[in-house]
């Protein structure tokens, strides 16, 4: 069978024009599919940045909350109630809100302020400079050194700034796994200082971060929190809720899905059409092979091998092209929201297999119907 596949390979690659057309169609299709899905994955990673950066196993929040930016403050008694649930190792408050930093030239820069539990500093970032205990110092803030850092005019240790008419001092710089979606810098401080500096409603806790005693307690904690009228979500659960919100309530998901579907259909039609034409142009040759003694299953193997090989090469080129584009974009836009995940790769590969199977199928139908007698008749 290897020899037959070798013939199939040579028939395919030696027809350079058709082969190039097939590859271009598939590469373009894979490129578009991966680009769309990786852009979506990048956006979702950024949208869930606070969740992943904090690293809490469970989050307690108002059921109406759909993303971290639109937190609905929780009553203080809820924190005590959660702490008393069986299976909770500890629970701490987290403040998440927006503020304005006044820059030297008098303009204002919006920032995200995360207020960590004063006692434990649970959810603190990894420091690049400074000591975490300095966050307790008067007006102490830790600034995240990400792509948005420069928007605060690259503050150094000890830099003073004005935040909502309050004095602030940089006591540390930190790095986090992901920066936020909206392109604004992030400052960490203590929960109490955040509440003090940023105007808030009667309730001040944005989220309650929970550490269960074991993962087996998660279900029990969720049920108990639900009885209190709130949601307790795992980290994954909260990321899924945020993702679902962007997919179903912002139009973003629909548009990306549409573009991905179009990319798939472009690949399907170009590849299917070109491959069918390729087979049609060689139909007399396949008929001759059949007359000489090739069996139906050997012809089927040849065609599916050609379709699959083209698909795999096109897939590799498409992935490579997409990775190159993302790398080039990041040279110019360090915060470019696009990441190629294993999920994207598997999805695109599955789609390529569908395209290859479809192309192979329509070609095989034609080839299996050839009557070698037609070859004699000319």
């Amino acid at each position: 069978m290897i020899g037959i596949l070798r013939i199939a390979y040579k028939l395919l690659v030696n027809d350079k024009g058709k082969f190039a057309a097939l590859l271009m169609g598939l590469t373009f299709s894979v490129f578009l599919m991966i680009q769309m899905t990786s852009m979506f994955a990048g956006l979702m990673k950024k949208a869930s940045a606070t969740v992943t950066n904090t690293g809490a196993k469970m989050w307690v929040l108002d059921p109406a909350v759909t993303n971290v930016q639109s937190a609905i403050p929780l009553p203080d008694y809820l924190l005590d109630a959660v702490r008393s649930i069986e299976g909770v190792k500890y629970a701490v408050p987290l403040y998440s809100g927006g503020a304005l930093v006044r820059l030297k030239d008098g303009t204002y820069q919006p920032v995200t302020v995360l207020g960590l539990d004063d006692t434990s500093l649970y959810g603190r970032p990894q420091l690049l400079e400074g000591k975490i205990e300095d966050i307790y110092a008067e007006n102490g803030f830790v600034v995240v050194k990400d792509e948005e850092y420069s928007k605060l005019e690259n503050p150094r240790m000890g830099t003073e700034f004005e935040l909502n008419d309050n004095r602030g001092v940089i006591v540390g710089t930190a790095k986090v796994p992901a920066s936020g979606l909206f392109g604004i810098p992030t400052l960490y401080t203590t929960f109490n200082r955040a509440v003090q500096y940023i105007p808030s409603m009667r309730y001040t806790i944005s989220f309650i971060l929970v550490e269960p005693q074991s993962m087996a307690d998660v279900g029990r904690i969720q049920q108990a929190v639900a009885r209190l009228g709130y949601d307790a979500l795992t980290e994954r659960g909260l990321i899924d809720r945020i993702t679902d919100w962007y997919i179903y309530h912002t139009g973003l998901g629909t548009n990306l899905l549409l573009m991905t579907a179009i990319a798939f259909l472009v690949g399907l039609s170009i590849s299917g059409q070109t491959f069918y034409t390729f087979v049609l142009e060689n139909i007399d040759k396949f008929g001759a092979l059949k007359a000489i003694g090739a069996k139906g299953r050997e012809l089927v193997a040849m065609i599916f091998f050609q379709a699959t090989l083209t698909g795999i090469i096109g897939y590799g080129l498409g992935v490579g092209l997409c990775a190159l584009l993302i790398a080039l974009a990041r040279l110019r836009l360090p915060d470019y929201a696009s990441i190629i995940t294993y999920g994207n790769l598997i999805f695109a590969f599955a789609m390529v297999l569908v395209i290859s199977a479809f192309s192979g199928y329509i070609a095989v139908r034609k080839v299996l119907r050839i009557d070698p007698y037609d070859i004699f008749r000319g």
Binding site: I4, L11, D284, K285, G293, K295, G296, P372, Y373, F376
Partner: protein, 232 residues
Amino acid sequence: MAPIAIRAQGLTKCFGHGDVKTYAVRDVSFEAHFREILYIVGPSGSGKTTLLSIISGILRPDTGRVLVEDTDVWSLKENALAEFRLHKIGFVFQDYHLFPNLTTVENVAIPLVLKRQAWHDATREALKYLEVVGLGARANLNPNRLSGGEQQRVAIARALASGPDLMIFDEPTASLDGDTGRKIVEFVKREVLSEHRCIVVVTHDDRIYEFADRILHMEDGRLLDGKGKADA
């Protein structure tokens, strides 16, 4: 006389139904022997190609049977029939049907590859057949860089490569000029015909009749002498 290679008995094949029913081959019986070049001649539409297709295991007759050596060709199932064609029959098509994207030697190696020979063994053996037809030096060229006569010889080499008992030539001179056509058929008679091989040629080119051992005339699907006696 050499043993019988082909025995065709009562072959009939018609196409269409009702008013448009046409008999392409009608009650044809004949025999062909090893070491014989048998011509089937006749005007266009007389049923020559249909008859050729039936005896080579490509087109199933409506009635009658074909014995190649002792094999009842049309009693074979599809895969066995493909195997039979691969091992017993060598085809030289009118338009050659060479793969333009394979080299000459790769084209010749196709039957060997279909017989499951390893690629390198197949191409090495194919080269020998190319040398038999005098094209060893052109092994690595693509067929479209060869002349019509050379392409015909490549097609012959490919047919020879399967080591067939029966070789089928469909209008072997139709695409060639008179001189080249004669040379090709002369070559076939000299180099291809052997003790264990029978050659059946369908043609209406009377310039090559002299190379036939026997000629069967067909018209309207019938053999003119009824039994297919030699009249060359």
